[in-house]
């Protein structure tokens, strides 16, 4: 009975944050399949450690911290085992539903893939998902100042990649 109650509570909490988690995973990984794997693995780990969550309000940070760690591991494995450079990436078949090459969103997503993991994650959490700096620091660790610096460099990097000037407002 207790277990059933726990599962229901977990599902209620997960439903609330699943879409954001999927979006976060999608923008951190290179393909749709990788994103789905990362999401599923995050959910499984969260489920296994659900009993450690005491405050329901802390679930979002808890969930995204797991995703953050798994993404770091995922990137590390990619660096170890993937010998494919970014220039060749477009020549491979992908599990993308339909690449919208002509739209700005597709271009930005493309540039995001080529950014460093830390920059990409900071941009996604703050600029895509609209989190506050304090919430992002709770997931990534470090300080607000450090996050601000990371964000500044990440935005500059994005502008440079899209061929613009270095002015960031």
């Amino acid at each position: 009975m207790q277990r059933k109650r726990d599962d229901e509570a977990f599902m209620a909490a997960l439903t609330k944050h699943h879409d954001a988690l999927a979006r976060f995973a999608r923008l951190l990984t290179r393909s749709h399949d990788d994103a789905q794997d990362l999401t599923a693995e995050t959910v499984l780990k969260a489920l296994e450690s659900w009993h450690t969550v005491r405050e329901p309000d802390a679930f979002r940070t808890f969930l995204f911290r797991i995703a953050h760690r798994l993404a770091i591991r995922h990137n590390f494995r990619h660096r170890l085992f993937d010998r494919i450079d970014d220039g060749m990436h477009d020549t491979f078949r992908t599990s993308e539903p339909s690449p919208e090459r002509s739209t700005d969103a597709a271009l930005v997503r493309d540039h995001l893939k080529r950014m460093s993991a830390a920059h990409r994650e900071s941009l996604v959490l703050v600029d895509v998902l609209g989190w506050t700096l304090e919430d992002v620091v709770a997931v990534q660790g470090g300080t607000v100042g450090g996050l601000k610096a990371r964000l500044f460099r990440a935005r500059q990097d994005l502008i440079r990649r899209t061929g613009g000037s270095n002015e960031v407002k």
């Binding site: 995973a25 749709h32 959910v43 489920l47 539903p97 700005d104 969103a105 271009l107």
Partner: protein, 359 residues
């Protein structure tokens, strides 16, 4: 197309995009992941169990190689009966009382070593046996304490020619003792270096025949001591000049072994040759000449006998000459280089024996 800064605004649009990852598909994957993990756990457990079983098998099964045929009960019995009495007297009483009445009824093969280990000082009981069994082993340990590098001398005795010399090479850093084999013509051949240690003046066979000579080794005031050891499994005598520096080093070395056998015991077993008793021999016109004036009065010498250290006579021609001014000399020819004994026999049958170092 937007301007570059406007791409930052596009980031916000990405937040509203459909990811095509639904909660249902995620939960399906979670179930699949769980199932796969359970399988991995089972496979891991099976492999770990197999690995443990294999390790246990190797650790506890007796080795399959047979007991060497050469080791028989009779050998063990012989070994036990040949142990010197003084070794047994040093064994604690309770050890002897615990020995079974028939110690060779079952001979178990010792576990064979699987790898070589770095040499380490022998532990006390073994060292005690090593010291008490034969003098050769005892001397060996003193040489080890003197940092005598056996491997280097074995190598030198292998390469050295009959007329070659070994020259000590000056080493300003004093961190190594270096020796160079020099050919008769003066060409340097090979350089050997080892840890700093006293340099022997020569190495001879047990009978005194020279095997290796260090240039300038035997000096007129030499008082030599020899330590027995083995080079290439042949017994040899390593001769040192008993200078104050060497004796100080020797006493330091033996004091380290003092707990096992007293330095006096080691010293008593040394072969000693005191050349100060007589003038050293010299090579003059191809013959060995030795002035024996200070060796005593030999006016009525009728015969000169030569023998090696083992007491075997050396068949060589030797003449005793008495000078006008009271000086006497022995001229030896064809005496092999090394250490020998000269025996002067007088008319009345009295004899005087003394050692001579032949260059």
């Amino acid at each position: 197309m937007k301007s570059s800064n406007n791409y930052l605004d596009t980031l916000a649009d990405l937040g509203a995009e459909d990811t095509h990852i639904t909660l249902e598909s995620t939960l399906e994957r979670v179930v699949e992941l769980r199932r796969r993990r359970a399988q991995h756990r089972i496979v891991g457990t099976v492999f770990a169990t197999l690995a443990l079983l294999t390790l246990g098998f190797w650790a506890f099964m007796p080795p399959s190689s047979p007991v060497p045929e050469s080791l028989t009960k009779a050998d063990v019995a012989n070994t036990l009966t040949n142990i010197p009495a003084n070794v047994l007297t040093n064994v604690p009483a309770n050890v002897l009382t615990n020995v079974p009445a028939n110690p060779v009824t079952s001979v178990e093969r010792a576990t064979q070593p699987t790898r070589r280990v770095a040499s380490a000082p022998l532990k006390a009981p073994y060292t005690k046996v090593a010291f008490d069994r034969t003098g050769e082993i005892r001397h060996d340990m003193v040489l080890r304490a003197l940092d005598f590098d056996k491997a280097v001398y074995e190598e030198i005795t292998t390469t050295i020619g009959i007329n070659d010399d070994v020259v000590m090479v000056t080493n300003s850093t004093n961190k190594q003792t270096c020796m160079q084999v020099v050919c008769e013509g003066g060409d340097a051949r090979t350089l050997y270096c080892s840890a700093p240690s006293p340099s022997p003046v020569m190495i001879t066979s047990p009978s005194g025949r020279q095997m290796m000579r260090v240039e300038g080794g035997v000096t007129p005031s030499s008082h030599l001591v020899a330590l027995r050891t083995q080079l290439h499994r042949d017994s040899v005598l390593v001769w040192y000049e008993a200078s104050p520096a060497f004796l100080a080093r020797f006493h330091r070395a033996t004091s380290q072994l003092d707990a096992i056998a007293s330095a006096t015991v080691v010293e008593q077993s040394l072969t000693r040759v005191d050349l100060q008793r007589c003038a050293p021999s010299r090579m003059i016109d191809g013959s060995i000449r030795m002035d024996v004036t200070r060796c005593g009065s030999h006016e009525r010498v009728v015969r000169v006998d030569l023998s090696d250290l083992a007491g075997r006579p050396i068949p060589t021609e030797a003449t005793y000459t008495q000078g006008d001014n009271g000086n006497a000399a022995i001229v030896l020819s064809s005496v092999p280089a090394g250490v020998a004994y000269v025996r002067l026999v007088s008319e009345d049958g009295a004899s005087d024996t003394f050692p001579v170092a032949v260059p």
